[in-house]
Amino acid sequence: MKPLLVTPAPHMKSKDTNARVMLDVLIALLPATVAALFFFGFNAVIIILTGLISAWIFELIALKLKKAPVTRADLRSASITGLLLALIIAPSVPWWMVVVGTFIAIFIAKHAFGGLGHNIFNPALIGRAFMVASWPILMTAWLKPFDAIATATPLATVNPAPATYLQLFLGNVGGSMGETSALALLIGAAYLFYRQAIEWRLPFAYLGTVVVISLIFRVDPVFQLLSGGLMIGAFFMATDPVTTPVTKPGRLIFGIGCGIITMVLRMGAGYPEGVCYSILLMNATTPLLDRYARGRIFGYK
């Protein structure tokens, strides 16, 4: 008989793997992707394909340079970054800008910080922030769905609610490709909850804070919830495990912080889209929250 394997317990593990976790996120992004293709047609096809393919290429180059093995989890994580980036930019953006954005996301925001699991900032958001800083005009050239005519995002208009709630909910408004349809995003989020891939604390603290602040300052909370990148931000960006706190109180604080910063930017700074920067800012607090916002340990008062 060959020698027995002696390994530490446990000898039984869940079927969950990193690759499976990533696959769940990709599946959950499907409805939003379909919505983007539906509303923005050919532009969306180009941007999404560019995002995905360039993300894979940059990921492979980065891993090659590091002499690290290429795992399924790596490729899927790159797909998430590429797809997310494509979904949070305007449908009129030229393809080469997407390539630059993906490069920043994968190379700088992810691998320069140590790669999967070590990055501090959400790569897709860094990619987008870089693009907005570099090409502010092109990045906000929103298109009206279906007919590719330039329009404004509802949030940027002085007079709120030119779009009806239903339009906002379905996504039939100007905006970034994948963030306009709250319905599609909610379907994806429901799947993530069903798979227990995300936990309620963070997204609901975020959305709840937005509602509370809206009520206090007498702006329309439904409009605030449904417009801009809030839905995709709350359910897909602020729940990115790597860049958000692991502690339970930390997750609550992170969500509340995102809500406050989003509303400050939306209402105070005359800056319509606060979601991206609010999450990035809160990303920076994650190490601190993990360190100091710890919960109670069993057996302590």
Binding site: P8, P10, H11, M12, T247, D290, R294, G299
Partner: protein
Amino acid sequence: MSKTFPGGIHPSEHKKRSKKEQIRKAADPKIAVIPLCQHIGTPAEPLVNVGDIVKIGQPLGDSERYVSAAVHASIGGKIIAIEPRLTPFGAKVLSVVIENNGDQDVHPSVRPYPNFKDLSKTDIRKIIRGAGIVGLGGAAFPTRVKLQPPPDKVIKTIIINGAECEPYLTCDYRLLIEQPKKVILGLKAIMKPTDALEGIIAIEDNKPEAITAIQKAIDEEVSHHNLRVAVLKTKYPQGAEKQLIKAITKREVPSGGLPADVHCIVNNVGTAVAIAKALTTGMPLIERIVTVTGGSISEPSNLLVRIGTPFSELVEQCGGFLEEPTKIIMGGPLMGISVPSIDVPVIKATSGILVPSKKELDDLEPEPCIRCAKCVDSCPQYLLPNLLGDASENDRFDLSKSYGALDCIECGVCSYVCPAKRNLVQLIKLSKNELLRKK
């Protein structure tokens, strides 16, 4: 409503294979290897010499020290060696080796005691000490010591742990169904010397037959006003002492404290039965129930096994292997230990022999932590296993300490849920050992 604790996991149970198998007596070993230290505490000193002929139940070793336990001959025969032998834990431990001579007579020291009612508190403690009884759930802590908490602690509740939350194992389940009266007697025997007010038998809700059997046995007791069954949710680690107490009493054992701090003592079903046997027949702990199971075992069974029987003989009596074993585990899959050889003997702590098939063992390589916090959300001790793991990896034992490494109960839940397949418990144990060493 079934009670439970926060956190935990729901692994697949795998109990079907052996659940319906009635306990059957395993053949006595040809050669029994009986380690002198099968418990937590000071090893026993040998009381016999090579060449001696011993009878069943004869003491082989004992110790003057308080935290220790006696060991006894589980078969009659000749002592052919007293030497260090390999045990399931992988270390060599001084052991008494008996060659079976087929003698079924018991040693004269094994005598039935008078009626339970007439036994004093001291008698009961003495009998339990003399019978070498230790916690049979796997911890093997001397029971006698457990039954005498510090004098300033008042014991109100005795809990018999019948949760059996580890997948695959069914030995406690079978005892609950087949010997409920002994479980109750054991419980009463623990309540007496501790002056406990109530006795509770805790069973998970996936074992309705066991709940019925115990409830029936309680109802048949003449005086049963202070005995009851607590039905618990089926969840791992429901049978961990602290989580069990939390589920039943809502009280938390303080960090670094004992169950007695919240007025409880917890004992395993097997321990209660061993106590009952010692009190009625005088027979010390020379045998226990072992579940032999797993995808590689032809006929999974629950066996009554003499201590010192090699694992290999039991596997043979269960129809042998279906495929060549890769790993043999003593205990359950979540907290059990993998043994170095199939020839190691059954000891008091052997609740199961689990031989998984290759399909059941899918050990994947660890990947980077993606900070998904699944480990955090499942840890029954509310720890941050991922950060504890990081601290161990970076030799930051100061951080491990402040993150509560010493509060880890090593249940393995974090390693189980981790999608990155990190060996979190092992990392945390490293920190614990380092911190305990420095203490």
